[in-house]
Symmetry: C2
Subunit: 264 residues, 2 copies
Amino acid sequence: MDIAMEAAKKQTKDLYTLGPLIHNPQAVEFLEELGVKVKDRIEHIPRGTVIFRSHGVSLRDLTKARKKRLRIIDATCPIVKRAHLFAKYLHQHGYALLIVGDPQHPEVEAIQSYIPKGVEVVEEVESIQGLGPWEKLGIIAQTTQSFSLFKKVVAVCLERAKELRVFNTICHATTIRQMEAVEIAKKVDCMIVIGGYNSGNTQRLAAICRDIQPYTYHIETAQELHPEWLARREKIGLTAGASTPSWIIKEVELKIRHLKSLRG
Amino acid sequence: MDIAMEAAKKQTKDLYTLGPLIHNPQAVEFLEELGVKVKDRIEHIPRGTVIFRSHGVSLRDLTKARKKRLRIIDATCPIVKRAHLFAKYLHQHGYALLIVGDPQHPEVEAIQSYIPKGVEVVEEVESIQGLGPWEKLGIIAQTTQSFSLFKKVVAVCLERAKELRVFNTICHATTIRQMEAVEIAKKVDCMIVIGGYNSGNTQRLAAICRDIQPYTYHIETAQELHPEWLARREKIGLTAGASTPSWIIKEVELKIRHLKSLRG
């Protein structure tokens, strides 16, 4: 967000992001108001500057952008870049590669694109049964994956590999957020999870909270907060996905405080 | 056993094993009858030939045996030797080393003795909490460990290590035996586990079976089989620890068949 806002200050003509910058419609809307246009394909960017978002960019799109001589601003998250490096390292050292993540997620697609072949992506433990066996298996995770799934996958893969090499590529902030959300959910009567409906990490956060506190609600904005959810609930917990802008969180918090004080 | 019996054919004077050859008193007794003497310490072997048993030998004992110019017959199990190699490899490549196993077991003690420092041995998941965190952690297992514990330890270690490198050193035959015992235990009304009381892998085998079939009995010899265990039990399952000689298994089987046909 900061990189895109900085770029928009200097130039707004022909400034594009490849895909929505983050999985949060309100933040994307805000950037569009600043003049940052969203294009889903390099082909649709005629000229100017392209911002590669935090999820990273596939080898194919990178090659196309270079061929078109677009100016590139690389806003790939450093944690994601680290995962790219580990994936390449494992591949170069003769490990079959397994990514714990959503095969449709742009981050996973990008990582996969740099490895010539032999990459498997699994989103559930059951999918491993058909894979391997492996002599040498390398495992990494999508940076915003659930740590609990990562652990389960590693344990099951051990049944099918002689050697396992695992790099914990899960974003520490994501793990901390999930752990904190669990702690909060245990103590409250109602849990509000804020973040884009299309954000995988917010969905996982909501699922983790719902396991503990059935009264868990996933919302995108303060407008969606229903007063009746909070009625008869004394302690309200709040958490938000990685890409939720702080102003949205603040709005939700204020609305909750307002509603609760109205009810006294 | 074969190596020791072969050695006893050629020479019986001054032929020793360092510690009981295998964790089975009946087999050790049989060897003693052949003239193979058991000594617990190199110091107690005056001269002649020493057989290093399947568990392997510690660096200390190896050095002592060489200094005493004893003739060495190395009967270390090749699967155990492989575990030694992986332990050394991990240490040389800068990994902290964790062994999943019994810290008192001669195999684990031997592996540990070749690594200058920084080796942890854990026999239960709870012990990991006080260890680490690690940048690079290597994990191997005692060759006759429970695979299920190995998996659990690896999963928990992932919480405390940035990189994990795991070599599955569990003896495939042991894993297969445990899996087969589970399958048998599911189908029978009574389970007999044969093997030395001092054999860790037999104890684990009995524990695994008992989880599924409460009527599980651990015996060392056919003499210990109580007829009343089999009364009113239709299907009797049989399994044995890694070091149980086949003649003992055969004896138990014959006794069960005899008792059942008597009641038949």
